[in-house]
Symmetry: C2
Subunit: 186 residues, 2 copies
């Protein structure tokens, strides 16, 4: 358990109850409708000039696309991410193509918003999401081969959480959020 004083108080339950599980129920399935709603939630995120600089590759346990992703997980993430019903690879469109022309300077920022939307929607459906970077970026990029301008950023394991929030996931204080850009703090 986290220190109760460290639990978010007063914020919406979908935000307060969110955590990144290290254990997923290996028998829980992410159905077609749930998958569709996760993508629909991401789709309606805001973005700079409505540029929508995001893309996704998805695979559910047992699907061929799941099998394309699995071999690239690091052992540290494979331990728990393999049990999740769904793996999502997130992609950002930083450039228009291979000319180096910028597509959006907010590409990664806005992908983050879309991922947060997806996470909130997962939470609303009784699912949980754990984002991670512990995978072979070079190998996965070679496997998925996105076109120029697009880059893989992260992976997300989505499924039914087993157990509660991990320990030691405290946060900087609100006061520090407001002062850290000016004064070294916590």
């Amino acid at each position: 358990m986290r220190d109760p004083e460290e639990l978010p108080s007063g914020i919406h339950p979908l935000l307060a109850g969110r955590f990144s599980p290290y254990r997923f129920d290996p028998s829980a399935v992410v159905g077609d409708r749930a998958l569709g709603l996760l993508l629909e939630a991401a789709r309606w995120a805001p973005s700079a000039g409505n540029s929508q600089p995001w893309g996704f590759f998805t695979g559910r346990r047992g699907e061929p696309d799941h099998g394309r992703v699995l071999p690239h997980l690091a052992p540290s993430s494979a331990r728990w991410a393999t049990d999740a019903g769904l793996l999502v690879v997130t992609l950002t469109r930083r450039h228009v193509d291979d000319t180096g022309l910028l597509y959006s300077e907010f590409a990664d920022h806005d992908l983050g918003q879309a991922v947060a939307h997806m996470t909130v929607q997962a939470q609303a459906m009784g699912l949980a999401a754990h984002q991670f970077r512990a995978f072979d970026m070079e190998g996965l990029t070679k496997e998925l081969d996105p076109r120029p301008g697009w880059a893989i950023v992260s992976m997300i394991a989505v499924g039914r959480a087993l157990g509660g929030p991990p320990e030691g996931r405290g946060r900087r204080s609100v006061a520090d959020l407001l002062s850290a850009p000016w004064t070294p703090g916590e």
Copy 2:
């Protein structure tokens, strides 16, 4: 009105009902508790290795800090953002300090998640948020003077929306989200 077929269906109301208003109620106030919950929501966003690479500068209408930000708005954003009860400047910590050592390669991505959390929390309190980049970045950076490693990314106007969603804010289809990184689409 947007094309009804373009309205999000089935996703959580806090996500489906969200839009970036171009008109704010100039008489509506963002109270202390609401401001605290917006920051609390941002605070509990997930981030790579729990790095929390975000910071905020806030000013409410009538506060001196609001006055520090206002002169740097572009005319195009001043038209509507001035009426919002709260202006938030978002900052990302990309580098540790001025040595160029990376603090987080996911800094902007994770700031985006914190901003999305803030937006969902605003929505839950009957408020709305409109992010924008139409301001004098150089002037505002000089005014706020964040320390090395930190950079201003965007501003957010938060307040009570007047009117409904603007027109023409459609989205790429879910199918395109899944194919665009590989095949030029919509």
